[in-house]
Symmetry: C2
Subunit: 458 residues, 2 copies
């Protein structure tokens, strides 16, 4: 039994009827060529034999004397958590995505440990899929990906136990603090304890950002610079999820030629796609969209405390020329990085919070504010370079299915994997029309960057 | 656009995270023998061509100036409401029931019209199933059944439009008041308007009931006579649904032989099953369980205003002898009916509310009260005598999937159909263990009644 952290409580408190706060991954799997007819059923049965999970997968919420705790569930029932589904034939990807959209809209039951794995057979090409979700109070996207990767192997013959039955790695995990939010919180706490040093640094950097922005420095994004946009509306309880894999090889080649990072290329792809999408709807704001981009500040190889910084990146969506947009994005990212390099992790967190406070306040107070901290989150979740196998199946793709909230009706997340950039786009079904178009526009965005390489002769 | 009635608002207000308030039906369908491979897909595609539904199926909630309204949805999207699913092979009934349990636990999105139809292929024996749900604020179980029956035909060749595309019958329907609750409310309103007559009658009957119960009259159930029981606990957000068809022919034969109604036999089956179930868990209360039984007070052939009475029936679960139990149930039912025969519908409603008020108050105020109005609802939804067809498929069964709420963790509902009594049992997944056993105990209950017929030589 352990007490909820204030971050855990926050995620539970912020969850609403129209706003479930779980994160998920959709994987597409190719069974071995000699897989028998009942391969998936046998797999589900095998997974269900791991009926005694380890923390946090065996813990459920309980309220005692007014305080919230994670307590071990004495009546843990694996069949509440592992579900076998099937797609109607011919098992089109669009049917899978519609299914994931519906599943992602439905809440986890707080009377049980807050996770569930769906194994879905019948996908075209003899493939199967999994959709696994976990409450944000238990793990965030990065922690979720790490947990999933742990149960995968580079050896097709090696079948590891499922995530919930794998002993946690490292000391931090042994105490049950598996999630990155918990890690962040621990860092925040240590930051606050060492606060005497941090506060002047944070104050100085905030002051400087403010000055730079007032003097018209184009790379600087303050915390309330994002324009009002159709992306920033109250949401319904229904979702639309779309997923597509883009070539990491192509993105890498372009990044190398242009002297930037793959992440810069990803942001440029998103900027181009968003501009095109909003133009098509006649809803492109005159000012550039601002993306909130979680940034790994990991300076060692530790497992915990990733991504405690949150960059505000100017996407330059007001600029018609892809070269101008990429340049602006690069400057904006570099400016963030320069600043963050000067700071310790706890200072970065304090700076991020202080910077975004005015815009966040406005978002909480007003239904459709005209200035916000950012318009959407674009999150690049670290994956694995080599081809991986799960339960003997090749992992063809691993798409993040993230969270949308009131005022933030679209989220673009991706994982990088072998040759793939696996994009998962989640949107409010009611608020945003024709989100499917973004998939095509992302590909067009990549082509624009490649054309740029040719144009510059790089 | 029409304003929400207070009953509509009540159902929406009482809906909670762990307590969605929609009612549903599960049907099992047998496609025609010559059905092609893609029969179900074609059916779903055909259903989706009916994309412009009639009220109330095209209406969604909207709040205007603080008041709630049903307004026509200008962006109605049939794909939000008609969903095609498939069971993993071999498509066992238990997998279907687990799927229905999960679907019934998930809320309808209030940003859309409050209904959804799932068409589920891949059930063993080449069959398909549908699970259709509608919010209780739109229709109750009886109205729901009536709506479904309207889209069915006795002719296998006749394919009628789906429910949402069928023009409403009669004047009341034309105004959009499709649901029985609305009908009830209309009756209540007219009763209140004619109140000068009703109130003395209600007061007299309540007074008499109270006197009879105090003088030890065994057939009389007052409004707070139900014992505390494990059925009456706070519930989780997860469900278990079980369904089984019992022979109506056998129930009818026994009823005729014993000179009682099929409904008496049904109540005796439930009483026997509940006694057996609670005995097995060591949780049988010393006092008899009380069932709340909606009763049709329809005295003509009108379509509206059904079931405005609610009987409190003593199930005699404390009695080991089935003959004693049946006798007690019959007396209890007859006593209710005698009383109701003396009253007008509005008076019956007033009487029911007045009678249950003390127990209901206690249920709302205390988490696990020791005396309640009733322990569970047992609802017999009128069906159809002849074999019916839907979209060219024979309707093999039509099971109600009703509602459980905090303090009422089990509901037994059934529809009568050709030869079948289609029982649907819905329970909180977490609160009540081994609900599956009830199915077997219901069959044993029917056998007990049949043994009674032999014993009495009737």
């Amino acid at each position: 039994m352990r007490r909820l952290t204030s971050l855990d409580s926050g995620f539970l408190f912020l969850e609403k009827r129209n706003q479930p706060l779980h994160v998920a991954f959709l994987t597409v799997l190719r069974p071995p060529p000699d897989a028998p007819q009942d391969f998936t059923r046998k797999m589900v049965e095998r997974l269900c034999t791991y009926g005694v999970p380890l923390p946090p997968f065996n813990q459920r919420l309980e309220r005692r004397l007014g305080a919230g705790y994670w307590v071990e569930d004495p009546e843990f029932d694996i069949h509440q958590h592992v579900v076998h589904l099937s797609l109607p034939q011919p098992g089109r990807i669009r049917d899978l995505l519609a299914m994931v959209s519906r599943m992602h809209a439905s809440h986890l039951d707080r009377a049980y440990p807050l996770w569930r794995l769906y194994v879905i057979e019948g996908l075209e090409g003899g493939r199967i899929a999994t959709y696994s979700k976990v409450h944000h109070a238990v793990a965030d996207g990065v922690a979720g990906a790490r947990l999933m990767l742990k149960s995968m192997s580079t050896d097709p013959e090696q079948v590891l136990p499922p995530t919930w039955a794998l002993p946690p790695r490292g000391r931090r995990h042994a105490t049950g603090l598996l999630s990155a939010p918990a890690g962040r919180l621990a860092r925040l706490a240590s930051g606050v304890r060492a606060g005497a040093d941090s506060l002047p640094v944070i104050a100085r950097e905030l002051r400087q950002t403010w000055h730079e922005s007032r003097s018209g420095h184009p790379d600087v994004v303050t915390g309330a610079a994002a324009p009002g946009c159709i992306l920033n509306q109250p949401i319904s309880a229904s979702r639309r999820f779309f997923a597509q894999t883009y070539s990491q090889t192509r993105a890498k080649r372009a990044a190398r030629a242009l002297g930037c990072t793959v992440n810069d290329v990803v942001l440029a792809m998103c900027a181009s796609a968003l501009r095109q999408y909003l133009l098509g709807l006649g809803a492109l704001p005159g000012r550039p969209l601002i993306a909130g981009v979680p940034l790994s500040t990991r300076r060692d190889h530790s497992e915990s405390g990733n991504q405690i910084a949150f960059m505000l990146v100017n996407l330059g969506t007001h600029l018609p020329d892809p070269a101008d947009r990429l340049a602006l994005i690069r400057c904006s990212v570099d400016h963030n990085k320069q600043r963050f390099l000067r700071m310790k992790p706890a200072e970065i967190l304090g700076y991020s919070v202080g910077l975004m406070a005015p815009g966040l306040m406005r978002m909480l107070a007003v239904q459709r504010p005209q200035s916000l901290a950012f318009n959407l989150v674009i999150s690049n979740v670290p994956g694995q370079r080599s081809t991986l196998y799960w339960q003997g199946c090749e992992v063809e793709a691993m798409y993040p299915v993230s969270v949308v909230v009131d005022g933030m009706a679209l989220n673009i997340s991706l994982t990088s994997r072998a040759d793939g950039l696996d994009f998962g786009l989640i949107a409010c079904r009611r608020t945003l029309p024709q989100v499917l178009r973004l998939l095509e526009y992302l590909e067009m965005g990549l082509q624009e960057i490649e054309a740029l390489v040719e144009r510059t002769g790089a």
